[in-house]
Amino acid sequence: MKPDDWIRDPVFQLNLLVWMSKEQPKEAYCVRPVFHEAGFEWMAIEQPFPFPVETAKRIQEINADEQIRIHLHPEPELILKRNSDQSALYFEAKKNSFWVESNTSSQARGHLVAAGSVFAEVNAPLQRALLVYVVPQAVSDPMRECLQELTEQLSSRGMNPGNSAVDGLSVEESEIHYHFDGPSRAALGIRDSRIAIMGGIAEDTDPSPLLLLYSDEDYHDKGRRGYYRRVLQNQAIAALLCELHRLNLGESITFTAARILELTTQGAFNFLGSNRRKSMELLLKVNVFNKIAEQWKDRSDGAVQMQGREITFSFPNEVFQADFLDWLERSKAVFDDGKPSMPELEQMDLGLSITL
């Protein structure tokens, strides 16, 4: 893997942005908390932006015209807010730039409208937002040109798009640099056009900070395609172990994948878009719950039961409890980190049950 590849990974980009808003020591930060230093804090993650009724109607009219399309439910990857001046940074991270004619432009038009005057209407008392696209620095110029053109398209149709900036990421020697566009510098109140946000970058080491946002998507390194899924699964198994170690004999406990995801994401799971939620649930259902059920099918005698989306545990005696927990603690290799297929998703939707 070349260090340049890391900065194109959407999950890496997004986690980098979240870490940049996390309070950390100046002397020993993981990722320099530039946004935190400028007074910004986390507000929302991948939450669909709900347009006001009038705006939604106008977008529908424009979309009906079929000359351009505006996404009616844009999902910014991250929104940071600053209470002192009621401002916000509305982030979208991309591995590459795109052109006005590409399909991604409808999403960008949606973001531009969301960051405009409607932002304050929807997110009062916040007064304004700056749309920030984060891309590899090498493609920041074409990205900026594209946004400019899209802004003009929207203005010419009577919409009120917001200001935008294109910030860049680059790897220089052993550092990852964040490049600030003019509007970003103004919003943050900083003079530097770029800041080293991570040091000690080496070709043999993945620079990722601890993941704060999880994904069921493929990892960019072909040799470790399931890495992000493994992180999610490990967290789920840790949560299961923590709960099951405290389960008293004779009592039962039932989990859904959604419940485990709520626990492992600190509740952020409920704030994600429905497609993302569904695919993460599917991942745990297929790769963790089903695997436990398969492994204990012949020896659980009803102590481990799966029905539809739920898995229920009830330990009949100490020996069984110890055996099961010991297996779960040592079974890291049992859980495959492949991506579940669509037929498995359909099965889950039908709520097919396996009772052991």
């Binding site: 996390k22 309070e23 950390q24 020591p25 100046k26 002397e27 020993a28 993981c30 908390p33 804090e41 986390w42 507000m43 000690g200 080496a202 043999d204 080491t205 993945d206 990722s208 900070p209 601890l210 993941l211 704060l212 890495y227 493994r230 992180v231 490990n234 967290q235 840790a238 949560a239 172990l241 923590c242 170690h245 405290r246 626990l263 492992t264 994401t265 600190q266 509740g267 952020a268 409920n270 704030f271 603690e329 890291k332």
Partner: protein, 419 residues
Amino acid sequence: MPFSLASLPRTPRDRFEVYRLFNGLSEEGKSGLDAAKTRVPLVKTFLLEHVSERGTQRVKSIPEIWQRFASILSPVDDSFHAVTDSAENPETGMQQQVVTGYIERYSPRFFAYYTVEGSQDAKRRVRNWIASSPDLDATWFSSPLLKFLWDNDISHRGNHRFGKLVFRHESVFEMPDDSADTPGEDADDRSEEGGPEPERRKFRSEMGDLVGRLRDSLDGLRSSYPPLHALYSVRIPSMAGKGGHDLFQDGQITNRSDSFEDHRNHARYLWRLYNGLLTETEECAWGEAAAKQKPAGWNGVPLIVRFDEPLTQTTFDNWVKRAFQKRNVFKLWGETLRLGPTKVHVYGADRHLWQPINLEMTEKHLVAILPRGTCGNTFHRLVANIQRYVSPKIEAWIGSRSFESFLADRHATDYRDET
């Protein structure tokens, strides 16, 4: 005649009868110490934490927690219980059921176990309780916390007072195939008994002198020898007279004064200090104060420990390999995901308390994310064990605040009221 635990009352008239008894034993013990011989074991307090109180689990009463042990609890009053357990009769060598000590509930979260049992037996008993219950943990007075106590309290109690500092560091992860590779709680006892003694950096030192002299010399010594940062125990001079109270890293406090009341006052003082630190650690790590209507934990801060000297490849590899083994002192569970030669991520759990924790371990630092509900004790145990077994000189931060400033802020508020 050696002291017999059988003389401790199971049903005292009230807790003050126990106080009086401990007071007498304290005086007798102190006289023995002054005459350089003690036949009466010293009174000891073990500060224990009931980990469910701040987490997501149900809070349990003292009898409920002790139910899983073989001990019998007899209430003396609402928050004071006699503990009857099996102990060796010093005359016959046979096991007998006797009162081994008393438990006082300081708060729903913290208990003190007072005992006059011999030091090794008492430690073993408390360790067994902790090891066999995910509800209980020790309190962890890591080196930065002990140093804070020394700098801000003990060293100001008078230059003429007698002070004692004990330092301990053992680089157990330095050697690749060490026969004593997994340090356990009893590792010290084993080597003291003539067991194998592997070759690795090992430092144990005790400095006993007038407080003023200790204060004048300590900084200079520390700058030339990093293990002198690995503070393991401090003596806190008594407020009531001569002697003091030896506080150890795992929350044991040994009374070397002649007053049990002064001893108990110091135990409660240390409990309040630790409780405040723990609560604040959790509020910062979980982001509770700022979270409000957003998902809890999203405004939480990372906990960071930086090593003064980067670990060698061998030390790093051994640490990562062994820290997640079942009986290792770090008590961690999880799959180590390698991101490079000296970088791993673990999305795992604290194996003792069974609470989730996410860790980044590199040759230069450890970063911990404590999900909501994970007890701050997990972090303080990590700090204590890193300094004792991995790197003697460390710096620690909770968010952007150094451990020292974190403690100093407390000192400026309720901590000062206690002194």
